[in-house]
Subunit: 280 residues, 2 copies
């Protein structure tokens, strides 16, 4: 795959890593970053991450062959609707949002002829923020999920697949609703659990934490605004996942209270088996 002009709207950790990977892999001849504070992005230009930085989405859209939105999930659909009329025929739009159903639904059938959108979610990230932490290997051997809707153009899906593969990622296609239900369990619920654990830690016990507490709560350092938007977009999925966790905790509580150590050990052994299979 070869892109003439790649536009990245939202140059944070993900957008910055896409830029860095695209440059290192010579995927695009020209990379333009779009941000609300273009002055801050000029540093990314001088450091060789971007060729150009702008605050004007429409201007970037006009030149772009592929434009990817790496902005908070609650703004992606509106930003795409705003940018699409400026896009040239044949332009491909995608995103890197952690939720998909609402975005895909909001755009279905609403883009100009000749402009395609395919939703994407690279399962890669970090609790860190900002392009200063960009990592060209962020997508290497990770999975990116593509979530076409019923009317998605097959060729656009293939181009989006080729784009992520060119960044080093594996690709899997899923239904947007199924994506959101799955990610509620594998990503959004762990965040909520980590935030709850960190949130109830009495300050005087901070020095009595060790690697166990720190691992278990690490994601709670993620940006509260970004995560609130994710919970908002995937409200139903997260509620369902949260209720499964609460039910399991209630079951564990029952075993603890009744002193059923054999059954408790079986639960821990089952959890260990699942966790061991995930690798480090």
């Amino acid at each position: 795959m070869k892109i003439h002009t790649l536009a990245i709207a939202g140059v944070g950790l993900i957008g910055g890593s896409i830029a860095l990977a695209a440059r290192q892999r010579r995927l695009a001849e020209h990379i333009v970053g779009v941000g609300r504070r273009p002055d801050a992005l000029r540093q990314a230009v001088s450091q060789g991450l971007l060729h150009e930085a702008t605050g004007e989405l429409a201007g970037a859209a006009r030149q772009a062959d592929l434009i990817i939105f790496c902005t908070p999930v609650d703004g992606i659909a509106d930003q795409i609707l705003a940018a699409a009329p400026a896009c040239k025929a044949g332009a491909l739009i995608t995103d890197a949002g952690s939720t998909k159903a609402r975005i895909v639904q909001a755009l279905e059938g609403r883009l100009p002829a000749g402009v395609d959108f395919v939703g994407s979610h690279p399962l890669a990230g970090s609790e860190k923020r900002g392009w200063e932490h960009a990592d060209a290997a962020l997508f290497q051997d990770r999975l990116t999920i593509l979530t076409p809707g019923p009317r998605t153009n097959q060729q656009a899906l293939e181009r989006t697949t080729a784009f992520w593969r060119a960044l080093g990622s594996r690709v899997r296609v899923m239904d947007p609703d199924r994506h959101d239900q799955a990610l509620a369990m594998t990503s959004h619920l762990p965040h909520l659990a980590a935030a709850a654990l960190a949130g109830i830690l009495p300050p005087e016990l901070a020095e009595l934490t060790a690697t166990g507490f720190r691992d278990t709560t690490r994601v709670a350092s993620g940006d509260p605004g970004l995560w609130t938007a994710i919970f908002q977009e995937n409200q139903a999925g997260v509620l369902t996942a949260l209720d499964r966790l609460r039910e399991r905790l209630l079951g564990l509580r029952g075993l603890l209270e009744s002193g059923d150590w054999v059954a408790l050990q079986e639960e821990l052994a089952q959890a260990k088996k699942v966790r061991d299979a995930l690798g480090n």
Copy 2:
């Protein structure tokens, strides 16, 4: 501090790391490991971790100036009661158990004259098992909590402090009950939450997990038997901590369901503040 003979009962990750650190720091002239499978420990002798391996606790206790129990928490008190009559006058006994109240209580006033016990808990470890993963730096700059009882000999407390400091650890003294309540929150509850999260993951979603899920559930790979013993010994403390987590999750659920995104973001921001302060 200088110990002639150091006996380590239970040569797993913790016991093995104590042996390795003691050798590297020339803390003991002779290190004897006690295990139920002494054949397996002979390899630890041939690899230079131990000077001697035995299956006989009383024999090791007879020679030891300091004996440390790194066995599962539910067996420590009985093993110490079995070993103490064989100990020579002036011998110091300690342990590395993750729970303290029951152990301290079970031993209070029950050891022969001239033999002292001081409970210890190094806040260091890993989800890994076995002396093969021993790490001489495991205690370096970590905190070890000592939990003297009302009749604990002051000199024994000082010797135990010197022992852990010689292994590179910082030391803090706490009441055994307060220790168990604190660790319920900082260690035992995170383990239960991680196990619950791992336990409810449908197998087909395993490949949709990323670093967030993996960090949050990492401790669930810990040994189910060791952890069941910890929950058994700290039943009341863990129940209290678990109820605080359940209450917080219920509160978060309410915000999610009612769509109170402002309040949800405040909760996430408070959790982030706590987590950020812990460092990596």
